[in-house]
């Protein structure tokens, strides 16, 4: 069983509206590790996130994706979540009329077989909100409705912390965040990884800008260009990209080709 653990993506090809976007992705996200997925805008990072979580607009044309041995691609989106996958959206949906507190409770109950007594649940939520510098008045607001960009991302992080998935994909969680918000997000993820509930969580942190990686140190960095992972390395790779952008990598690629 342990040999099967990991989010394993092999030869994944994905198209959107008839256009092939992902041209064969191989990627392993290990439990308890932080993987960064970097790449310029339009390279296909969100497409990978949506294909893995089962967005109906993304069609998988080939390859495989398994989560701790479970064939993700055979499952409906909610079943993928139940198997332990979480996506923090680049653009979270606003759902008027649905209170944050109700949604948190409903999703937690949908995902976990051990329903928490309300008081315990509230305590858990308050703790996590504290780490994210979120006021408890958020709980009474409608989900993402009228939220600023930063508030939406904080709420995504709150859900991540409350749901404690096996694998978490964070799609551009850093974009639109100010320095304080970014630090709060980093601390929240750090606290989650220090906690028993999150120490085995594997992270895939999608970003085109390495800022967030100063707060959540990556174990591995992958670079995506035009629907392919073109190189992988350690945290130094992120620093290289910060200095030089993607051009050097792109040039090396075309020289290889």
């Amino acid at each position: 069983m342990s040999s099967e653990r990991g989010l394993r993506i092999r030869g994944l090809r994905v198209s959107v509206a008839g256009n092939e976007i992902l041209k064969g992705i191989d990627l392993d996200v290990e439990p308890g590790r932080v993987h960064a997925l970097m790449g310029p805008n339009g390279s296909g990072k969100s497409t990978l996130a949506f294909a893995l979580t089962g967005h109906p607009g993304y069609s998988v044309d080939g390859g495989s994706a398994t989560l701790d041995g479970t064939d993700l691609l055979a499952l409906a989106p909610d079943k993928r979540a139940k198997s332990g996958l979480f996506l923090s959206f680049q653009y979270p949906a606003a759902i008027p009329g649905v209170k944050v507190s109700n949604f948190l409770l409903a999703t937690r109950n949908a995902l976990k077989t051990d329903p928490l007594p309300p008081a315990k649940f509230r305590q858990l939520v308050f703790e996590k909100m504290d780490l994210l510098d979120m006021d408890t008045s958020f709980l009474g607001r409608y989900l993402n409705d009228g939220f600023s960009g930063g508030e939406k991302k904080r709420l995504e992080m709150l859900q991540l912390a409350v749901l404690a998935p096996k694998y978490a994909i964070l799609d551009e969680t850093d974009s639109g965040l100010d320095v304080d918000a970014l630090r709060a997000v980093g601390e929240s993820v750090g606290a989650m990884r220090d906690d028993a509930s999150g120490k085995d969580t594997g992270f895939l942190i999608i970003t085109h800008y390495p800022r967030i990686l100063q707060h959540i140190a990556p174990d591995v960095v992958h670079v995506m260009l035009d629907g392919r992972i073109v190189t992988s390395g350690d945290a130094h790779l992120a620093q290289t990209i910060e200095r030089e952008g993607y051009d050097t990598i792109r040039e090396a690629q075309s020289a290889n080709a």
Partner: protein, 406 residues
């Protein structure tokens, strides 16, 4: 012989039936001539709603009501009252009100309806019996709601509720029309007369059996600074026709309308709301949340009229419709007529299915598609639900949930 009396009212709310009703002592609060005039108005006037078309199947000017026999003892005519006792607030039936509070009663009854009531309001007036009279004297503020429950049985009933709030009075009135009986026609009026700076919230909740015909008119008039809020939730009946009108005919009035309706299966719901800004320095806010599933049909016409002299009126109309199946249809028309120029008027209307992006977001968090759809649909109604009096919100949410579940 009682059987003769019953016999004579056969054939629905006819002229003959009216003569029968008018002759009863219980009907003495309105003269036979008054009733006759109202009945003629019903027969001669048009509902002034669109003809049947591709989706909507029922002609409101040609309703066959002949199967619904009026019966003066129908409990659908007389409200069951539920409220904490209060030594100054009056809640009684119309006949008693006409005897014990003749001045207030005479002055108020029909004052919002006017001389030319709409077709169905005229019918309700013609056959009114029993009913409910609520009088909150000047300066009295009631915290707890006054709950009036009409429980019609088979046949026609004509619940008439008259709410009079004196200057500075405050009250919340809940009017329920609720019954499991088959073969029900309920055709009622809720008339509100609000004094200066009075504050009146009235919520009408209709949940009749699936074969019923439910017709309601809510109409209000107010004095300077009065706040009036009509809430209406239409859940039951095969045909529900609801008209709400607030006449802003005094300065600094605040007129509010909140509507919820949700036809499913073959249900038809026709809703008309009208705010007449006749006098300026006034405000109105109309919020409509509707959904339809199955082959449910709804149409909504939201009139806001700002008359030429109604300077500094501030009117708002927001109308959102959610379609939950392919055969469901909601025809929604906001109609703003603005004849004054220094006014604020806003309207926004949306019609659509549940947004796929919302569904995916929720599913990706582990909710199955049905649960996600339910949550989104219930959330959709929530801004309107929260405008209803607190004492009815839970039942509204339950009713909506039952509708969504199907």
């Amino acid at each position: 012989m009682p059987s003769v009396a019953v016999e004579e009212t056969r054939g629905g709310p006819s002229g003959r039936a009216l003569a029968q009703v008018s002759a009863r002592p219980e009907a003495a609060f309105l003269s036979a001539e008054d009733r006759q005039r109202a009945f003629e108005r019903f027969e001669e006037s048009s509902a002034q709603r669109e003809r049947p078309g591709r989706y909507w199947k029922i002609d409101l000017d040609a309703l066959d009501l002949s199967n619904y026999d009026p019966e003066i003892a129908n409990p659908g005519n007389l409200a069951e009252v539920d409220m904490p006792p209060h030594d100054r607030v009056v809640v009684t039936d119309l006949l008693t009100a006409s005897r014990r509070h003749p001045d207030v009663f005479r002055q108020a009854l029909g004052s919002a309806l006017g001389d030319a009531p709409s077709k169905f309001a005229a019918l309700a007036r013609a056959f009114a019996s029993g009913g409910a009279f609520v009088y909150v004297p000047p300066g009295v503020a009631l915290d707890a709601p006054i709950e009036l429950n009409y429980r019609p049985r088979t046949g026609a009933s004509f619940p008439y509720t008259l709410v009079v709030a004196g200057d500075g009075a405050q009250c919340t009135v809940v009017v329920r029309t609720v019954s499991d009986a088959t073969g029900v026609l309920s055709c009622g009026v809720t008339e509100v007369v609000a004094g200066e700076r009075a504050r009146v919230d009235v919520a009408c909740v209709q949940s009749l059996a699936p074969d019923a015909v439910a017709i309601g008119t809510c109409i209000a008039t107010g004095s300077a600074g009065a706040f009036v809020h009509f809430c209406s939730a239409q859940f039951g009946a095969r045909l529900a026709i609801e008209a709400l009108e607030i006449d802003v005919d005094a300065r600094e009035m605040d007129a509010n309308i909140s509507l919820l309706f949700f036809p499913r299966d073959e249900q038809h719901v026709d809703v008309l709301s009208t705010v007449e800004h006749r006098v300026g320095d006034s405000r109105s806010d109309t919020l409509v949340k509707s959904a339809a599933s199955g082959a449910g049909q709804a149409r909504y016409l939201g009139n806001i009229r700002i008359h030429p002299s109604a300077h500094l009126s501030d009117a708002r109309l927001k109308d959102d419709a959610l379609l939950l199946s392919r055969a469901a249809h909601i025809d929604s028309v906001p109609a703003l007529e603005i004849a004054a120029n220094d006014v604020k008027a806003y309207h926004g209307a949306t019609v659509g299915a549940i947004d796929e992006a919302l569904l995916f977001y929720m599913e990706s968090r582990g909710l199955d598609p049905q649960a996600a759809e339910r949550m989104i649909a219930l959330g959709f109604f929530e801004p309107a639900v929260e405008r209803f009096p607190a004492s009815v919100r839970a039942e509204l949410r339950d009713a909506l949930e039952a509708k969504v579940k199907k």
